[in-house]
């Protein structure tokens, strides 16, 4: 187990470094002068030149990379052209919002996918199953941003029972900052008004993000369960007189879960990245939206930092998923015959 982790860690570092180089190169191929864009069209040329020197834009690419990497090691991602402050600050402000969103979204889609998948498998080929399958087709076909817009339409105008924009209603103050996750912080400080308010704001964007993966995984789980139901070891277990609840909960569920977990992990890891459109629509001040704006405005430092953060999170989630899959499937964990 340990050697597996170490190996993955090495791989991961390599990948992240490679990623940073890739993004660095892409960002620098940009047409347009970042210094000029930062200061605006009316700034005097000497100011632009000075800024260029400051940003090391006059030096060669490898040197620029070196400066940037050095900064990263110190924890300094440079300054953002847009917000005009340290990218660090921006990240610290916006990252928790997206984390919170991704977390709730993940919890939602995992639990609902399991419930729906189990339900569909239990009554497979009956109307419940067909209903879920029909919903799944639609749910998978609708991109997250479309779902988001529809939810906005529904709850913003038709049936305004849930707040739609932002993280908190203006009158509710933000809870004391511990983790930056409003729901968690308000729970920890016993601030229940803030908790419910934050949760209410979270629900719609989380739902929009969760829709695609939810139905995808529900279908997958159903197929896996139904597939394994017909397997010999299940009828053998029945033949030994094991109670059916034991067979379903233990003998059927565990092997059926394995292919689903990997896909769930992948989708979970992508949640943060896919959040940018949802954040835009619901006016959610998250790092995804921040990154998107950075890309549109060619805010190099911000772009590199955001991509790096995403890459690291993606990598961490992938490792966790790999560990979970290995713990579920002894064939992966232990390899070939002893």
């Amino acid at each position: 187990m340990l050697s597996f982790l170490v190996k993955r860690l090495f791989q991961g570092i390599f990948v992240i470094v490679g990623l940073s180089i890739l993004i660095f190169i892409i960002a620098r191929i940009v047409p347009g002068d970042p210094a000029r864009m930062s200061l605006g069209p009316r700034a005097p040329q000497f100011a632009v030149d000075e800024l260029r020197r400051e940003m090391h834009l006059d030096k060669s690419l490898p040197v620029q990379y070196f400066y940037w990497a050095e900064g990263v090691f110190r924890g300094d991602f440079g300054k953002s052209i847009n917000t005009k402050r340290a990218v660090n600050t921006d990240i610290r402000e916006f990252l928790p919002a997206t984390l919170e969103l991704a977390l709730l979204s993940g919890i939602l889609f995992i639990i609902l996918a399991i419930l729906l998948g189990l339900l569909a498998a239990k009554h497979h080929d009956k109307w419940v199953d067909n209903l879920i399958r029909g919903l799944s087709y639609v749910g998978i076909a609708l991109p997250a941003f479309v779902v988001a817009e529809l939810l906005l339409l529904l709850f913003g105008y038709v049936w305004p029972i849930i707040p739609v924009l932002g993280r908190l209603s203006p009158e509710t103050g933000a809870p004391t900052h511990i983790t930056g996750l409003f729901t968690l912080d308000s729970l920890l400080t016993g601030n229940f008004t803030a908790f419910f308010n934050a949760l209410a704001h979270l629900i719609l964007p989380a739902l929009a993000l969760a829709t695609g993966p939810l139905f995808q995984e529900a279908r997958l789980l159903r197929a896996s369960l139904v597939d394994n139901m017909g397997k010999e070891y299940i009828s053998v277990a029945t033949g030994y007189g094991l109670p059916s609840r034991v067979i379903t909960k233990k003998y059927l569920l565990k092997p059926s879960f394995i292919p689903v977990v990997s896909v769930m992990g992948m989708d979970l890891a992508s949640l943060m990245g896919n959040a940018f459109l949802v954040e835009k629509i619901f006016d959610w001040p998250g790092i995804s939206r921040y990154g998107m704006n950075a890309m549109m405005n060619k805010d190099l430092n911000a772009i590199s930092a955001v991509i790096l953060v995403f890459g690291i999170i993606f990598f961490i989630v992938n490792i966790i998923v790999d560990i979970i899959v290995a713990s579920l499937d002894p064939r992966i964990r232990l390899g070939a015959k002893s």
């Binding site: 791989q11 390599f14 990948v15 992240i16 490679g18 990623l19 890739l22 993004i23 892409i26 960002a27 191929i29 940009v30 047409p31 087709y137 639609v138 998978i140 076909a141 609708l142 991109p143 941003f145 479309v146 817009e149 529809l150 906005l152 339409l153 913003g156 105008y157 038709v158 890891a269 992508s270 943060m272 990245g273 896919n274 940018f276 459109l277 835009k280 629509i281 990154g291 998107m292 890309m295 549109m296 060619k298 772009i303 991509i307 995403f310 890459g311 993606f314 990598f315």
Partner: protein
């Protein structure tokens, strides 16, 4: 293959494909989409509305007999613009897949066949780097740093699509290279080209095609996401995501500006998903 064999194969393929009625529905939708993409000019009532066109007297009209899906704030017929959007979506799909798949497969073959050598390591680590990011982010990053437009979107999506095929083919190629038929070919001195393309590749083809069929829906989805943020078709050319983005601003009053494009996206992606499922059923070995 003789003519009779070909006919029988076709029958078998069709049988497998059409077992699921939804796949046939998907096929119809796909054909319809292709038709729209090709013949939008003649299939729509107001083809001029996709060019620079403004008619404020007709702006913001609810769906009616004259304008089936209503008009937008510039007075353009939404229905016509939707039909034309099929063109962009399908064009992107064709271009993205026709470039990224061969490239990805080729690299995967090489990497898999040379499993364990530096060729393998270089290629697969590059793949890892590309796949280290959620797809949309990477596509956006690339598209955003290029000039906003259809061309850039296509480049961006192509650039981030090929690694998936490389990974898939790599897995198959590295296990196939130990099979006897490959070893035999090596022994009799077959060229590398022959081994890769005549021995290994044909065994991977059906899963490659299956993946392609299932990917179409995803490409369209990403394309829509990109056009939503303005990185796809540039105005006045319409695109699905772009139309939703525009329409969102005028919700709920001009609801038709958002709802119909949303339905259209669901329609096309659903159709291609069904079609993809059918292709997968068709290519699956055994019954």
């Amino acid at each position: 293959m003789t003519k009779a064999q070909f006919k029988e194969n076709t029958h078998l393929y069709w049988y497998k494909f059409s077992r699921n009625k939804l796949s046939v529905v998907g096929l119809c939708i796909v054909l319809l989409s292709v038709f729209f993409a090709l013949f939008a000019e003649v299939a729509t009532p107001y083809p001029q509305h996709v060019k620079a066109f403004v008619d404020y007297s007709q702006a913001g009209l609810a769906p009616s007999k004259a304008f089936i899906c209503g008009t937008d704030i510039y007075g353009r017929d939404i229905f016509t613009r939707l039909i034309f959007s099929f063109r962009g979506a399908l064009l992107m799909t064709v271009i993205v897949l026709s470039i990224s798949v061969p490239v990805g497969v080729f690299l995967g073959l090489i990497a898999g066949y040379n499993h364990g050598t530096w060729v393998d390591i270089v290629i697969m680590r590059t793949v890892d780097v590309f796949l280290a990011l959620p797809s949309i982010i990477l596509a956006m990053a690339i598209a955003a740093v290029l000039e906003p437009g259809m061309k850039s979107s296509m480049i961006a999506v192509t650039a981030m699509w090929w690694p998936w095929y490389t990974r898939q083919v790599y897995g198959m190629a590295s296990s196939l290279r130990n099979e006897y038929f490959v070893k035999n070919a090596e022994l009799i001195g077959a060229s590398r080209f022959h081994i890769l393309f005549r021995e290994i590749l044909p065994n991977c083809l059906s899963s490659i095609f299956t993946k392609m069929a299932l990917d179409v829906g995803w490409v369209i989805l990403i394309g829509a996401a990109l056009s939503f943020v303005g990185l796809g078709e540039q105005p006045p050319t319409p695109g699905f995501g772009q139309m939703i983005s525009e329409g969102a601003r005028y919700m709920p009053d001009l609801w038709w500006m958002t709802i119909f494009p949303a339905l259209a996206i669901a329609f096309i992606i659903l159709g291609f998903n069904f079609f993809g499922d059918g292709i997968r059923d068709m290519l699956e070995r055994g019954r």
